[in-house]
């Protein structure tokens, strides 16, 4: 019954005409949609952030540095050791070094030592002592204390480009006029390196 009704409607000339008109209109409406467009790509580049990585004697931390060790030091003698500092990162950096001397026996041996930091690559043996032969670097201190090499002020810091390295020769001398109370004293020396990116 329903099929017959549909067939009857499809046979209706008006329905057929309307369907044909709809087809034409649909095609015409589609065809009127036209505008131009063009596109392109612009490469900004691959933005790569840099990095800074300070190596001390080939590692991030050197807990086995012994070349400054000196047993039974007496006034007039000195110890010396060389530290290699490297920028293992991708961006330039600056660094500074704070020194510290322990004083467990409260005798103050560390504070009595006179320090000199040079750029020598090797230490020099002088009799029973070891020394750094060159001149002291700029902005270096004379005690195992803060600001031994440079300071938090950027202008005083050492600068290293990516992949570059340099040596610091640290010499510690016990002055000839050292007090007798320093006999049989002991101190442990440590260094803290702090590196920063160079501010653009």
């Amino acid at each position: 019954m329903r099929k017959q009704t549909i067939l009857a409607r499809l046979r209706d000339t008006r329905v057929q005409a309307a369907a044909s008109l709809g087809l034409v209109l649909a095609a015409a409406a589609t065809g009127t949609y036209a505008y131009w467009t063009d596109s392109a790509s612009v490469s900004g580049t691959t933005i790569s952030s840099g990095s800074i990585d300070l190596f001390v004697n080939g590692a991030n931390n050197d807990t086995a540095f012994t070349s400054l060790s000196f047993t039974n030091i007496v006034p007039g003698q000195s110890a010396a050791g060389v530290i290699t500092v490297k920028n293992n990162g991708l961006s330039p950096l600056t660094y500074y070094v704070n020194g510290a001397a322990s004083n467990a026996d409260t005798k103050g041996l560390g504070a009595a030592l006179v320090v000199k930091v040079t750029g020598d690559a090797t230490r020099t043996t002088s009799g029973t002592s070891f020394t750094c032969a060159g001149n002291a670097l700029a902005n270096t201190g004379t005690a195992f204390a803060a600001n031994l090499v440079g300071s938090p002020t950027v202008a005083t810091q050492r600068q290293l480009i990516p992949g570059a390295s340099e040596t610091l020769c640290v010499q510690a001398s016990l002055p000839t006029g050292a007090a007798s109370t320093l006999q049989n004293a002991t101190t442990n020396i440590s260094f803290a390196f702090t590196a920063s990116q160079i501010i653009p």
Binding site: T30, W36, D38, S41, I47
Partner: protein, 240 residues
């Protein structure tokens, strides 16, 4: 199923297809010109905007510029989108900001990856040139986690016909190159930009679809004719 019903259904199907098929914009080429210096034009830039060997650190701010020219005789609308790229770890830190502006306008900045619109519907008249500035800033307070990361920066530019502006009247054969700013024909496919006509414009309907429309129209007319003949036959039968 009767022939009429079949034809009727085909007609409806054809109408439906014609209605739902997407109408693509007219294909065109060469409307969008690019230049690094505002002098030499091409469809690409000769080099990336920023030095790929540069290693960015917190606090870096770099600005690069390029020029866009509407090389069509009609006004266009420029859209600049920062593209969604796969290499994005640096952008994902949230410490990198990418911004763009047209001319002396305000920068529109984004700090996250993904396709994002930086310039929307900037009108460029026929032959007009616009400078686009791109600024990339690295947050000076960015921590160490942003070290050795990367972001592939790319922009997708689209120049579309500005349909709100009436096209210039075709002078019926003149060269239509009176703006002095369009560097002659650029598409090289015979559509020509110098005659005032849109390059490659017209219906997006394919030839096949047009053929189908003709067939369906013929079918519809046939149905009408068959219906009329059937009715006349019935009337004659009744009169007899």
């Amino acid at each position: 199923m009767s022939t009429r019903l079949l034809l009727g259904m085909l007609g409806l199907l054809g109408a439906l297809l014609a209605a739902i098929l997407p109408a693509a914009p007219a294909s065109a080429a060469g409307e969008l010109g690019l230049s690094a210096d505002g002098t030499s034009w091409s469809d690409t830039l000769p080099a990336p905007l920023f030095d790929p060997d540069f290693r960015w650190v917190p606090g870096d701010v770099e600005v690069a510029s390029f020029f866009v020219r509407n090389q069509d005789p009609q006004a266009g609308l420029l859209q600049v989108v920062m593209a969604d790229t796969a290499v994005r770890s640096l952008m994902d830190t949230g410490d990198l900001e990418v911004a763009a502006r047209v001319g002396a306008g305000e920068y529109v900045a984004v700090t996250s990856a993904g396709a994002q619109n930086l310039v929307q519907d900037e009108q460029i008249p026929a032959g007009g040139v616009r400078r686009v500035d791109v600024r990339v800033s690295f947050d000076p307070l960015s921590p160490n986690t942003s070290q050795a990361q990367q972001f592939d920066l790319r922009f997708d530019l689209t120049l579309s016909q500005d349909t709100s502006v009436l096209p210039p009247v075709d002078n019926g054969g003149g060269d239509g190159d009176g703006d002095g700013g369009v560097a002659g024909p650029v598409d090289g496919n015979g559509n020509g930009n110098g005659n005032g006509n849109l390059p490659g414009t017209g219906s997006a309907i394919s030839r096949g679809l047009l053929l189908l429309a003709v067939i369906l129209c013929a079918g519809g007319l046939g149905l009408v004719g068959l219906g009329r003949r059937d009715r006349d036959s019935k009337e004659r039968h009744l009169h007899a």
